[in-house]
Symmetry: C2
Subunit: 201 residues, 2 copies
C-alpha cells in the first residue's frame, strides 16, 4: 500500500534506517512549517543534522522525500488508530475510539494537514491515494460490521468517505485551528450523529 | 463576509464589472489547471483576452486575484446551494437537496478543489475563512431546526463541521475523481446516514 515508489533504496542497516527516519522527522517539521514550495533540502538536512551528501543516499530529490513523508504520515496515523481502536468490540464502538484517537493524533502532529494538503498541488495522486488507503480499510470494516449486524445496511464505500470527511474536518477545526473547552464533548456530539443521525427521535 | 480586502477597487461601471468577472473566470481556469504557484498573471490576462495593464486596474498582484477568486467561488457555491435548497420544507430535507446540489456544482466546477486546497498554502486564513463561512451559516440553520423540533438536539457547530466534511469528501471522491454509476445512490446512502446514523435499527 505504498503511495509511491519513493527512495533511492531502503536502508539495509539499523543505522541507515535511523538516519532515514531522522530525515523524515525533519521533513515533517520543515515541510509542515514552510510548505512544500518554500522548503528546501538544505533546511531538512540541517534540521536532521545530516550532511547534504547523506540525503541523496536515501532520497532522489525534494519531491521524493515529500512522497516518502506522506507515506510515513499515513503509516503513523494508521498505527495510532490501530492501537486505539483495537480494544473496540463493535464497529460502532470503533467509530468513537477512532475519532477520539484521530483528534489526539492531529493535536500532536499539527503539520499533518499542511503536508497532506500540499500533496494535492505536488501531484494529485499522492493526495487521492492517501485518502483511498483509509477508504479501502474503512469500507472493509464497515462491510464486515454490516454482515455481523453491528450496523444498519448501506453502501460501505460511500459511508467510508462520509466518515473520513467527518474526522478530517473535525480534526482541522477542533484539533488544529481552535481547541474546544472539551474535546470529549465534540467526540460525543459527532459520535451521536454518526450512530443515530440528525432526525428527531 | 469577505475573505479578503481584495482588489484595487471595485469597478463602478457595468463594463468594468464585466471585465473583472472575465478575469475571475479566467483565473478559475488557470489557477485550477496549473495551480497557484505555476500560474502567472499573463496566462490569466491571455485567457481573459484582456491587456496586462487592465489587470492592474482590478487586482494588485497574483495573490490579490487569487483571494478574490476564492471569495468568488464561495459566492458561486452559496448561490447554487441557496437556489437548490430553497424549496426544502425542513432541515432534514435541506440536507438531501444541499448534498445533491453540492455534488452537481463540483461536477461543473472541477477546479474548485484545487483552488480551495491551494489557498491553504498561500495563506491558511483564506482556507479556514472559506469553510468558516459555511460553518456559520450551517450552524445557524441547524440551531433553528433543533428549536423547531425538526432534528434531534445536539451541538450545532460540531454537526455543521461534520456535514461540511461529508459534502467535501463525497464531492471529491464522487464528483471529481471517479463518477459513480448513480450519483443518486451516493446521495441516498449519505442522506440515510446523516438522518439515521449507522447503528443497527
Amino acid at each position: 500500500m505504498s503511495l509511491t515508489e519513493s527512495g533511492v533504496s531502503q536502508p539495509k542497516t539499523a543505522r541507515g534506517q535511523k538516519t532515514r527516519e531522522a530525515l523524515l522527522r525533519a521533513a515533517e517539521k520543515v515541510f509542515g512549517e514552510k510548505g512544500y514550495y518554500v522548503a528546501s533540502i538544505s533546511e531538512i538536512t540541517q534540521e536532521a543534522e545530516v550532511a547534504m551528501g547523506t540525503f541523496y543516499l536515501y532520497f532522489k530529490d525534494k519531491e521524493d522525500i515529500f512522497r516518502a513523508l506522506v507515506q510515513h504520515m499515513l503509516e503513523l496515523v494508521r498505527a495510532h488508530l490501530r492501537k486505539h481502536v483495537g480494544p473496540a468490540q463493535t464497529q460502532i464502538e470503533a467509530e468513537r475510539l477512532g475519532l477520539k484517537a484521530f483528534l489526539s493524533f492531529v493535536s500532536r502532529h499539527k503539520n499533518l494537514y499542511r503536508i497532506v494538503l500540499d500533496s494535492y498541488s505536488v501531484d494529485e495522486t499522492i493526495y487521492s491515494s492517501y485518502f483511498q488507503v483509509f477508504a479501502d480499510v474503512y469500507s472493509r470494516r464497515l462491510g464486515k460490521a454490516e454482515e455481523q449486524g453491528e450496523i444498519s445496511p448501506g453502501d460501505a464505500e460511500v459511508r467510508a468517505w462520509c466518515l473520513i470527511g467527518i474526522s478530517n474536518f473535525l480534526g482541522m477545526r477542533y484539533a488544529l485551528w481552535k481547541r474546544p473547552a472539551s474535546m470529549d464533548k465534540v467526540v460525543d456530539t459527532a459520535f451521536d450523529m454518526i450512530s443515530h443521525g440528525l432526525a428527531a427521535r
